[in-house]
């Protein structure tokens, strides 16, 4: 075996920052091959993927519109993941948050009150929390695996949305189509840049990042979460209550996802529709890991992920590339990003003496 990994013994500061760039460069090289294979001019394709989508004010603003739910959810999830609490059901919590927040706007559809938006945001957070409380309760009370319960509840939430939108919440003037009324102006998030769709939801995402950073770096809860994840035994010796951590992390991620749902319906969609989220809850899991479970990392990862979606749409319009190419390209980028992180803790050695070890032998 010619290539092997050697433990650096410590974290490489350089690689912490360099590895994402290495990954991007590798993706670009692989992308050139992929596009060349497809008979497309690789330079044009890569420009159309990464540059042209955000070359206009509109496009630049869209980056934040698309990134908002991803960052919000991923910041929330990153806490749980650090504590080994696996909330896979953010999509469901997002949906229930959107229903709770949006439901309020439908209930007061003639309201002009300034309090409507804050109330909707609160309802969204509470809705997401309530949905996340189910796996938290089942986990702490019956020791039921949260991966499974939170995932199953995604389907239940989506069916609940489907039921409401085909039944009681249908727009009475909507000719029986499955869409709610449009929200009143008081229930729509204000736009930050005129003529674009960039709404104040992005500020929520930034606030979540800041809060997350403070919590994880400064607050005792953040410390407890990290210790619980890394050394559960030590945590229990130190008297951290595991159940408390489970509740806190699930409620935080559920609340953030619920807020993301409310932001989606109140920002860009402005009504309840049968498909509120194109899988943000799942994509955010990848975003959380790409950002290495750190709020600031999540911020950049969320925007990068958003960019690949915008790029995919743009490449379809400009290059006639099928949507499938977006998925393949996105997958490749993620593979490289995830793999490049190995460089932080390990260095690549070519040839040289082998350290004894079954793992190397296996490779």
């Amino acid at each position: 075996m010619l290539v092997r990994l050697e433990n650096r013994g410590e974290i490489s500061k350089t690689m912490v920052y360099a590895s994402p760039f290495i990954a991007v460069v590798l993706t670009l090289i692989a992308g050139v091959f992929l596009f060349a294979l497809l008979g497309v001019n690789p330079v044009e394709a890569i420009l159309s993927f990464f540059i042209t989508p955000i070359s206009t004010l509109d496009g630049f603003a869209e980056l934040f519109v698309k990134g908002t739910p991803l960052v919000l959810i991923a910041v929330g999830l990153s806490f749980g993941f650090q504590a080994n609490v696996w909330n896979i059901g953010a999509e469901g919590q997002l949906t229930v948050g959107a229903l709770a927040g949006g439901g309020l706007a439908l209930l007061f559809f003639e309201s002009e009150s300034l309090f409507l938006l804050p109330a909707m945001a609160a309802a969204g957070i509470l809705g997401g929390m309530a949905w996340a409380a189910i796996p938290a309760f089942l986990k702490t009370r019956y020791n039921t695996n949260e991966i499974l319960t939170s995932l199953m509840l995604v389907y239940v939430a989506l069916l609940l949305l489907s039921y409401l939108i085909h039944g009681p919440w249908k727009d009475p003037e909507g000719q029986n189509f499955p869409e709610s009324r449009l929200f009143p102006d008081a229930g729509i998030l204000p736009v930050m840049i005129e003529t674009t769709r960039m709404h104040v939801g992005w500020l929520f995402a930034l606030a979540a990042v800041a809060t997350g950073w403070i919590l994880i770096a400064r607050h005792v809860i953040g410390f407890q979460i990290r210790v619980t994840g890394m050394a559960p035994m030590a945590a229990s010796f130190a008297g951290f209550k595991e159940k408390r951590i489970i509740w806190i992390t699930l409620l935080m991620s559920g609340g953030a996802a619920g807020l993301a749902g409310m932001v989606e319906v109140s920002g860009p969609i402005q009504q309840i529709v049968p498909n509120i989220s194109p899988g943000y809850g799942f994509t955010a899991i990848i975003v959380a890991f790409l950002g290495r479970l750190h709020p600031v990392g999540v911020l950049f990862a969320g925007l990068l992920m958003a960019l690949t979606y915008l790029g995919g749409e743009n490449a379809q319009i400009e290059m006639n590339l099928p949507n499938a190419v977006t998925g393949v390209f996105q997958g490749m980028l993620l593979f490289f990003l995830l793999a490049a992180d190995v460089l932080i803790k390990y260095r690549v050695k070519f040839g040289g003496p082998k350290t004894a070890g079954a793992a190397e032998g296996a490779g």
């Binding site: 519109v65 085909h166 029986n176 769709r197 049968p274 749409e313 319009i317």
Partner: protein, 361 residues
């Protein structure tokens, strides 16, 4: 080995993409026409047929147009962005091909008054937003007649997607037509809560067959129900595109959406400067709705009856929703001699006599 196979497939696709690209390259200053699709162009149903329409536009108008499309666009926050993107990259005409794009289309249209928009199956219009849809129920009427004649068990199975007026209208049209030739017919409906899940559609079809249905109709997009019908040896009627390949023995006929004539006509209107907003609800007459070839197993007199009804619809002598129509309780909701107006049909939210169960609310 594996990689080699992938590469082979990729390069095959690549050749196609290149051909398409070179074919477009020479145009001087073509009209850019954009399409927004809700599903993948490979769904063999709704989106597939819209894409056939797009290809037909390119074929018919050559280098006067350049088309582009975005597939699998979710009907939420993303739709507005995609439509905006199309409008701001020089597209002069944009077709948004799913109901869920209604509000996004109207919203974007306000910002781009010079761009023409065409929204399928919706009801909100503006000076630069036209709407269009197809009277699939005309097709449903004819297949309902055939199904009523072909059934032995007098139970028709109907695999349905979501309880929206469009789908309910289809179910009712079939029930009315089938009972007009065979009063004993009832229609059983199973909702799969999805437009597109071949496995579930097949399972729903099997459940209906197990409960006695011997003609399968569907308002979902995959050919799975036709395939299930073939597997169990009963009749089936295809949806959106010709599905004969999936059940050659079972496939009686299919209702085909043909958007090509409309798309060509509207694109030409933009080129000529004669485009006006409006609402087109086309059927057999305008060629938007078609039936695929009749199965040879259908007796000649039934074919004759079906053709007579189809021609009658074209010349206006037959209306699929002509009174008397009774609701499920037997109450007359449309008197004899009257025909239902478009508004009632568009918002249809009740079952007629002969349909089993209740509309999920």
């Amino acid at each position: 080995m594996k990689l080699g196979k992938k590469l082979g497939l990729l390069s095959g696709l690549a050749a196609g993409v290149m051909l398409a690209a070179t074919g477009l390259a020479q145009a001087a200053d073509p009209l850019k026409v954009g399409f927004v699709y809700v599903g993948p162009v490979g769904d063999h149903g709704w989106t597939y047929e819209h894409n056939q329409g797009r290809i037909a536009v390119e074929k018919a108008l050559g280098d006067k147009v350049k088309t582009s499309f975005v597939e699998s666009v979710p009907e939420g926050a993303d739709a507005t962005r995609v439509i905006t993107r199309l409008a701001s990259t020089g597209h002069g005409l944009i077709f948004t091909t799913s109901f869920g794009y209604m509000n996004p289309t109207v919203r974007v249209a306000k910002r781009f008054p010079k761009v023409k928009f065409e929204h399928a199956t919706g009801f909100k219009r503006a000076d630069n937003v036209a709407t269009y849809s197809a009277r699939f129920y005309e097709g449903r009427h004819v297949v309902g007649l055939i199904a009523g004649k072909m059934t032995k068990s007098n139970v028709l199975g109907y695999v349905a997607s979501f309880p929206i007026p469009e789908v309910i209208r289809g179910i009712n049209a079939v029930a009315i037509a089938a009972r007009s030739v065979n009063p004993k017919v009832t229609v059983k409906v199973v909702w799969v809560s999805s437009w597109f899940d071949p496995g579930k559609e097949a399972d729903a079809a099997k459940a209906l067959i197990d409960q006695g249905a011997d003609v399968m109709l569907q308002h979902t997009d995959s050919p799975a129900p036709v395939q299930a019908a073939q597997g169990r040896g009963i009749w089936a009627i295809g949806q959106a595109s010709d599905m004969k390949a999936f059940g050659p023995k079972s496939h009686l006929t299919a209702i085909i959406d043909d958007w090509a004539p409309y798309y060509i006509e509207r694109t030409k209107a933009v080129l000529d400067g004669t485009w006006k907003s409006g609402d087109v609800w086309g059927g057999f007459k305008s060629g938007m709705v078609k039936l695929s070839d009749y199965n040879a197993a259908i007796p000649a007199d039934v074919v004759a009856m079906a053709e007579k009804a189809r021609k009658g619809i074209i010349d206006g002598s037959v209306h699929p929703f002509a009174g008397p129509i009774k609701d499920q309780s037997g109450k007359i909701i449309l008197k004899a001699g009257e025909v239902m107006d478009d508004k009632t049909m568009l918002g249809m939210n009740f079952y007629v006599e002969g349909v089993e169960g209740k509309i999920p609310q």
